[in-house]
Structures are given as structure tokens and as C-alpha cells.
Symmetry: C2
Subunit: 188 residues, 2 copies
């Protein structure tokens, strides 16, 4: 596998995280607890609040990451560029119980600033999360996280993102269209 | 405003709803209670389970729709094609407390099969929802719905969808790429 681009990221105000998560991209979730760490592919997440910056994630209990996230009460949401698609699929089709996925997929880790889980340098945005509400974890595997530290690559144009439709088929994000002129100023 | 295309939809097995919601499109949420009805724009939702078919929606309590949905315990999630963008923005920047948005935006309603809220004929997919879990409504305005009836237009190619990034800017869904050959069969 060829070496993927590593991004240099800068801090992003937390209420702006929605810019990157609201369109619905597939993300790579990293976790760490003690000497264990892992990374998983996730498509089931939603923004829940601007400030505090909340995001809800449905993380199946069958995932090796589930206990790492529950026990550490934290994770990092990393947004991969679309050209990382084969890595994203590979991570989603293997288990951290069998292999070290960071090594297998040549991912460069950077230490978390506020959480034990690492960020991924090959992803252009990384959002460090602390568990905020676990009331739906037991019944629905649904975690409400507060994003406590956010970094994004400073680029003139963000990379395209991956959006999963099921059946092994992804949608690649397309062009942008600015409709701000039609908005009430307080809705922007 | 020009007349938008109306779609003829057919029933979709409920576990396949993820195909349309997981990529993260902006949706139009319809609701009805007694003689009141409304439609709102929503970008904060996630798939939560295949079967039962669960979806989680963060619906701000400031919306006129909030009480209609809470009291009726139901709504319909409609997926608009990208060319409905000006209607989507208009619906998101007005309140059902002031106007009948269905009339203002020339939307054709069809009666719900299993819920009181109508479907929108100008949307290519409509998913009827019943409230399944309200434990996060009081604290987070987060509703877990079970989709109880699903219809989608039978088309060779689905229309492009809208994905909101904030600041009045939308991303239009782009090309599809099939990576199913890289998947473990049981992951498809």
C-alpha cells in the first residue's frame, strides 16, 4: 500500500466541528485503554449540539473498540480523505482482537491532547471526545460524546469525504453550493 | 417557484432504509397532531439499527414541529432531491407557527399509511416513524424513532442529495464507488 499523505492540523473552535461531521462522512474512531488501542470505521453518528459540542455515535457492542471506549470513557473521531477508501474498508473488515490495525494499515498516530486515544495523521480532522451521557449505551450502544479538543488541516479546500450507503458502496462527496444569501442571518 | 417533480414510490424493506439515511442527507421532517401539521428541515440524524429499523433525530425544542412530534409520537422522514435546495432552505428559515409551509412551498402531501403525518410527493423517499425511546428528549431533544413503513421511488439512479455543512453552504452528493469486492461477505 502506498504511503498516504499526512496532514498538519491546527486547533478548531469546538462549535465549528459541525462543518465536518454534519454532512455525514465515514469516520475512523480511535480508542485506547491501558496498553490496548484500536481503530474502527464508523458511519452511524450525528451532531447533537453546538456548544457544548456534542456528537452521538452508535458503536456496536460486537466491536473490539466498544470496551476500550466504554472503559476509558473517550475516543477520537478522525475524518479520512476519500483517497483513504481502501484503508477505511480494510479497517471496517478486520478486528483489533486479531491485528494491530495501525501497523497493518500504516497509520501514523499522534498522542491525544486531552484523551488517551491517539489521532491519525493521515486524517484531515481529529476530534477528541469524552463520554458525556451513557444512558442509551446499554440498550442501543449509543454514546453521547462531548468534543473537548478539535484540530483540522488548514487547506484552501477540504479533501473529499466518504459516505457509506451499505452493500459495499460509498458515495464520494461532491461540489459545494453556497445558499447563505437565502438564510435569515440568525440561522447562519 | 417552478413545479417540482413528484415521485411515485414503492415499499422498501425496512432494514434497507440505511441506504438512504446513512450517507447523511438533509431531510424534511413532517408531523401532524389533531388539525395541525408542519414540515421542518433536519440535518442532525443517524441510523441506529437495521432491524428494528431505528433512527435517532436531534429536533430542537425551538421548532414548531417539536410539540407535534412529541405529542403524536410520530413523524415522517422525507428525503428531498438536491434540486429542491431552495425549498429546503426556505423551510429551514421559516416557522410553521407563522405560515403553512406545505402551501407556501407548493408541496404535495400524501396521507401516512401508519402515522398521522403526511409524506411529501416531491421527495424520493419517505420513512414513517414512531417514537421508540424518549429518554434523551428532555435533556438533549434527541428522539429515537422506529421506522414502521418505508417507500422509495423506483429509479435506475437515485437523485443527488443535499448535505449541510453550516454557514449556508451545502455539499451535493457525488459519484458512487463500489468496493464490495474488498468486503468480508458477512459485512455486506
Amino acid at each position: 500500500m502506498s504511503v498516504a499523505r499526512r496532514f498538519i492540523k491546527q486547533e478548531l473552535p469546538l462549535h465549528l466541528v459541525r462543518r465536518h461531521l454534519e454532512p455525514g462522512p465515514v469516520v475512523l474512531l480511535t480508542s485506547a485503554q491501558g496498553t490496548s488501542r484500536n481503530v474502527m470505521t464508523l458511519g452511524w453518528q450525528t451532531v447533537m449540539e453546538f456548544s457544548p459540542s456534542l456528537v452521538g455515535c452508535m458503536i456496536s457492542a460486537g466491536n473490539h473498540s466498544f470496551e476500550l471506549i466504554r472503559q476509558s470513557g473517550s475516543c477520537v473521531i478522525n475524518v479520512p480523505p476519500a483517497n483513504l477508501i481502501d484503508t477505511v474498508v480494510g479497517i471496517g473488515n478486520t478486528s483489533g482482537a486479531d491485528i494491530d490495525k495501525f501497523e497493518t494499515y500504516s497509520l501514523t498516530t499522534e498522542p491525544g491532547v486531552k484523551v488517551p486515544a491517539p489521532s491519525i495523521a493521515e486524517c484531515f480532522a481529529s476530534f477528541e471526545c469524552r463520554l458525556s451521557d451513557d444512558r442509551l449505551v446499554e440498550s442501543h450502544n449509543f454514546f453521547v460524546f462531548e468534543i473537548v479538543h478539535a484540530t483540522v488541516a488548514r487547506l484552501a479546500r477540504m479533501p473529499r469525504t466518504l459516505h457509506y450507503t451499505g452493500d459495499g458502496v460509498f458515495m464520494i462527496s461532491g461540489r459545494r453550493i453556497d445558499k447563505s444569501a437565502l438564510f435569515n442571518p440568525h440561522m447562519l
